[in-house]
Amino acid sequence: MSRTIKLRKGLDIKLIGEADKVKSNAERSSVFAVKPPDFHGLVPKMAVKVGDKVQAGSVIFANKYKEDVKFASPVSGEIAEIVRGEKRRILAVTIKADAENSYADLGGIDTAGASAADIKAKMLASGLWPFIKMRPIDIVANPDDEPKAIFISAFDSAPLAPDYDFVLHGENEAFQAGLNALATLTKGQVHLTMRGTSNPDAVFTGAKGVQQNKISGKHPVGNVGTQIHHIDPVNKGEVVWTVNAQDVAIIGRVLTSGKFDTSKVIAVTGSEVKSPKYIKTQIGTSMADVLTDNVKEGNVRHISGNVLSGEKVELDGFLGYYDSHVTVIPEGDEPKFMLTKGWMGPGIGKFSINRSYFNWLMPNKKYALDTNLNGEVRNFVVTGEMEKVFPFDIYPMHLTKAVMYNDIDLMENLGIYEVAPEDFALCEFVCTSKVNIQETIREGLDVIYEECM
């Protein structure tokens, strides 16, 4: 039974620098990396040393506390460096890539007829498991759980987000194979949720063995968390799994072919990109290669992911494991004089959900927003603004405060099991008091994970 949902709350932020719908191949990076911090809470147990030769699909580390869950190298080559940070925490494993990928033979299977146990074993062994994340907590799924459903969002509504209809066009077979595999893992439904107002690509509408839902509204309508909340919300004690649409195709491709081929299409966007476009590359590619000769002069910030919940990376950094999106925006580290560009000015070029600046006169204008906080961190004063952009039956400010004073009972009661930090990205954007809400929510989830799961 498919569902159609309409949301009224939310906010679409229109930014300059949407990607043109042309796919081009990125130059193959000479260095790739897998970054343990991409998998929140993971303590890696290394399986390789510096100088070891690996093939695409070779295990490079595993979860120390759940050794079944393995992480594989996306390319073949030689382990170049294990980058460590404070307290010797592993920040990245970099791999010096061969010119051509050679693949470890993982053995292909037909996902349509396979049993759950086979699929699970195969996915764990071949490093595909980390593509599955779980709610609550929003971390890599625990293979011992029984998820009540699996959710896949067929679109991304974040600012400048890649268009999955375009990205996955023609990937029907791999995508369906991935869905088949996922369907064996749950006793419940696999939900594939599409945007209600557009005509999704055949790769989604033709999907079989899943429940197809439609949802329409403003961002965060494409966030899988929003969709879960409105289709089949997570209660205490329940688990659902989520997979990115592109990763479903990767899972399908790897399982059928037996080759760990993680190529994906990413969108290179943002106001500081010369020609925003789609690029075919691989997981773990270096940012420098994605952005070669394509960034404007000046002080800019490179973000792996979207502007609302992505991760800041330097130009010599690497694409995040789950990201299919790179955004480059100007840094805003210049003080702004109050009468011209500051708080008393007319606010040209500023975007606000309130009408206190004049941006409401130009509803279709696209903005080149910078990273300035546009103010100082304050106590919560204004109420009701988060509710406007938060399409959950949850009180965002009350939940945030409950996390701040670390009241576990109250967090549970107010619905912390249903949310991920990214769901609060817009709340953080609109907050007049400039509180870092996503970080706070993540802290809350960490506490819950430690105490209650």
């Binding site: 580290d333 109050m338 990273t371 004063v381």
Partner: protein
């Protein structure tokens, strides 16, 4: 300006909050987001507070002129409302501006001291409170009282709870309540509402003159006991036409008289989305409904006042737009805001009608609702929690 920044090890280090206050006033700092949402909404607390202060300006300007006008009325020199424009304006300025200056200077002084002591950044809450205080007291209030009340309100109303955003009751109303209970003769009766009246010798007053506000005066219309309420209602309507109350040509606290000026501010606040329309609307609705209900009784003249008249007279409109909507002290949930506003408006008129001795019930009603707001939220949030638990139960069973 950067050069003047006190370093951590210098002897001026503890004045860093003061420097920070001035610096961030002049420049939005170049501080950037670290992670999470990399872009942020253009608005900040300074902008929000600035919009509220802007919205208060029509009230202030009108209040200044109105003060001048009513100064001249008792002696009969005033003439029509717009006569002697310059004289009235100058008198009003001389009378009102010192209150504004004292309120800001004292209030900000206290804030600075606490910020230095607690090593906090200076937060913007007082920008609005400092403007509200002069507007809700009579223009004749001595400056030392203003200073005293401001100190009381900022210290006990706000700083003891942790500063901006942490207070339980509205700061400006705390100041007014302090004056009201501490110096009742300066805040009520028939001597204070027209500036300079208490200094004017009796023989210079025109015959049969009363210096009370229309609301206060209503109780003193005399007539045969039986239809006292009805008759004084009519006499009242004749002396104080409703449109005068609307435009603000009546005596009263500095900024509260003109509903027209308040509506300009309300329009700005609502249009920019800074004040909650839910609270404003339900506050007015609450007042109107109780005003209508009160018309059924005859016990005192206030019962017979038209419901619409209730809304334009006294501090009701000002309270509805600028006081009850204070986001810190109001209910925080959207459902809670409706309940909070409605009860607040109803209660304000209740106090006015059923307690004839104290016609200006708005202050009391709002302070009371400030205290009640967390409880309203508690039940609204509780309903949300129940809904969530219910979802779980059928599955468990």
């Amino acid at each position: 300006m950067r050069k003047m920044e006190p370093q951590h090890d210098s002897k001026w280090a503890k004045f860093h909050p003061v420097w920070d206050g001035f610096y961030t006033f002049l420049f939005t700092p170049g501080e950037t987001t670290k992670r999470g949402s990399h872009i942020r909404d253009g608005i900040d607390l300074k902008r929000t507070m600035f919009m509220v202060v802007t919205a208060l300006i029509p009230c202030l300007l009108f209040g200044i002129y109105n003060t001048g006008h009513w100064h001249m009325v008792p002696t009969g020199e005033a003439g029509a409302y717009m006569d002697h424009f310059g004289d009235k304006l100058i008198y009003g300025l001389i009378q009102v501006m010192p209150i504004v200056i004292v309120s800001y200077a004292v209030g900000l002084g206290v804030e600075f001291i606490f910020c230095i002591k607690n090593k906090h950044a200076i937060q913007e809450g007082f920008l609005v409170s400092g403007m509200l205080i002069p507007l809700i007291i009579p223009a004749d209030t001595p400056l030392w009282m203003v200073a005293f009340a401001t100190i009381f309100a900022v210290v006990l109303g706000k700083e003891v709870f942790g500063g901006t955003g942490m207070n339980i009751v509205n700061i400006a109303l705390t100041a007014r309540a302090f004056l009201f209970f501490g110096y009742p003769t300066m805040m009520s009766g028939d001597k204070v509402w027209m500036s300079g009246l208490s200094d004017t010798p009796k023989d210079q007053l025109t015959d049969g003159f009363s210096g009370a506000t229309p609301l206060g005066e209503l109780a003193s219309f005399v007539g045969p006991k039986a239809d006292w309420a009805l008759q004084s209602g009519e006499a009242f309507a004749a002396k104080w036409p409703i449109m005068d109350s609307f435009w603000g040509f009546i005596p009263g606290s500095v900024g509260e008289t003109s509903v027209a000026a308040i509506l300009i501010g309300a329009a700005l606040l609502l249009y920019t989305g800074i004040a909650s329309w839910r609270i404003m609307l339900s506050f007015v609705a609450g007042g109107f409904v109780v005003g209508l209900l009160a018309n059924l009784g005859f016990d005192n003249p206030y019962y017979q006042m038209e419901a619409v008249n209730h809304l334009v007279i006294g501090g009701f409109a000002f309270g509805a737009v600028f006081m009850i909507t204070d986001p810190v002290t109001a209910a925080q949930t959207n459902t809670g805001k409706f309940i909070y506003g409605f009860l607040g408006g109803g209660l304000a008129i209740c106090v006015r009608v059923y307690n004839g001795a104290y016609p200006e019930g708005v202050m009391m009603a709002i302070l009371f609702m400030n205290v009640m707001a967390p409880m309203i939220d508690h039940y609204v949030v509780g309903a949300n929690i129940k809904r969530r638990n219910k979802r779980l139960k059928p599955k468990a069973a």
